[in-house]
């Protein structure tokens, strides 16, 4: 179901937008924007088509099997930015196992819903995190091979 703010709800309370307050908040004040330095980075994910459409980069720093720091940069629509930001707040401080189990629906729930046609944007964050987690595994394997 498409989550739409009904006009009545908005009467006189700012713009009538198809987004929830929570989503707008993450769009205006995205959390964990930025990059991690090469040394800090334990995993890195890049998703989206760099030639066209939305794109997202995500860095994680892991300590004690937990995501200690997370950072992202995103080229994309409001949904992409907000869901990326929301995803980082969900992932931060979580164990790797917990992080792996974060779903699109978790992100959507945190934001109180997202317009139907923007759902696919919310995939980006979760997919970037999965990619970063995979990347971390690879990096560990590589370290194990030539220490």
């Amino acid at each position: 179901m498409e989550r739409e703010t009904r006009p009545e709800e908005n009467a006189g309370h700012g713009p009538a937008l198809p987004y929830t307050r929570a989503l707008l908040e993450h769009f205006v004040n995205p959390r964990n924007v930025g990059e991690l330095s090469e040394e800090e980075t334990d995993g890195f994910g890049l998703v989206g088509d760099p030639g066209c459409g939305d794109q997202m980069k995500l860095w994680i720093s892991v300590s004690d099997d937990r995501i200690e720091r997370i950072a992202f940069k995103s080229f994309g629509c409001p949904g992409a930015i907000a869901t990326s930001s929301a995803l980082t707040t969900l992932a931060e401080g979580r164990t790797l196992e917990e992080a792996r189990r974060i779903t699109d629906d978790d992100v959507i729930e945190l934001l109180g819903g997202i317009p139907e046609h923007k759902r696919h944007c919310s995939l980006l964050g979760v997919r970037a995190l999965q990619a970063a987690l995979e990347d971390r595994k690879l990096r560990l394997q590589q370290k194990a091979i030539r220490p």
């Binding site: 713009p15 987004y19 769009f27 205006v28 924007v33 890049l46 629509c77 409001p78 046609h117």
Partner: protein, 381 residues
Amino acid sequence: MIYLDHNATTPLHPQVLEAMLVCLQEHWGNPSSPHSLGNQARMVMQQARARIAESLGCEPSEVVFCSSGTEADNLALRGVAGALRSRGNHIVTTAIEHHAVLHTCDALEEEGFRVTRVPVDPQGVVDLESLERSLTDQTILVSVMHANNETGVLQPVEEVARMAARREIPFHVDAVQTAGKLPFRLPELGAGLVSLSGHKLYGPRGAAALFVREGTPLRPILTGGSHEHDLRAGTENLAGLVGLAKAVELAVQDAAEEGRRLTGLRDELEARLSSSIPEIRINGAQARRVPNTSNVTFPGVDGESIILGLDLAGICVSTGSACSTGEPEPSHVLREMGVSRRDAQGSIRLSLGRGTRQEDLDLTVQVLADTVARLRRITSI
């Protein structure tokens, strides 16, 4: 609210609303009814038609009222195609037309017509040589927009008109974005068919017109009662037509002066944007444009995000290609001008109008600069 999306739609002019209200409350008869209420409605309709004809420089019998610019475009294209099917099957248009023209061409292709979509140069102006080369003895219609809705870039319709006239090919001009913005009279365009739409010139939605020059072959697409010189059936939306007539009259009266005012504001806006935001590009800036339109690329950021940033500050702008729902496809107009897919995605259209004041634009420049800067800090590219 600061509204800078006048190419998408405009608010009703108060005098238009007034005229419509009189009609809705008093002249609500059916113009086809054989009694005094119907007669009155019919006379009001004749006056509206005469008023439009006078404002645009044509005969009342050449004005066909329709329900939207889209319908006017469809009537022009499908109408000529239907009427001249036996004479040829080739239609020439440009690659940057509104979807009302381009998608109708797609539909006609499915019915067996052949369509040439002439490309534009990097400034968004149709390539005249290429257009002329595309004309064959099978060509039954040329359709070129007067100004593009996304960039405001004017097309050389007078020259196309001459090419078409030389070969006796009917010529359609989609003037939805210029009617009421430029002070032209219909005969100057040299076209047998011209579309315009009420809601783009401070008139009502649901009211539009197709000018059909005497003698232009046209088959109706809506059949039924004999309304609109037998070219468009359906009980007339009288209040809409009266509003349209009033709107056209007012817009044409003011077009020259308002055009100068908006050109000044627009040029100033573009100068300030260029000086306060790095790396921006004004699309079609070197071409002749309608006075009110500015299409700007902000490399590295997403247009939708800019729009939301402005919206949260009470400023309404759009990407230009109004998309009904769902994913905005990067503008086909900008892509045809050679803009990369990603830059097209990072472009917005600011379209000024009657209500626009200098201070609105001052604030807009400031919010835009902040928003773009913020988004550029987030961007991954």
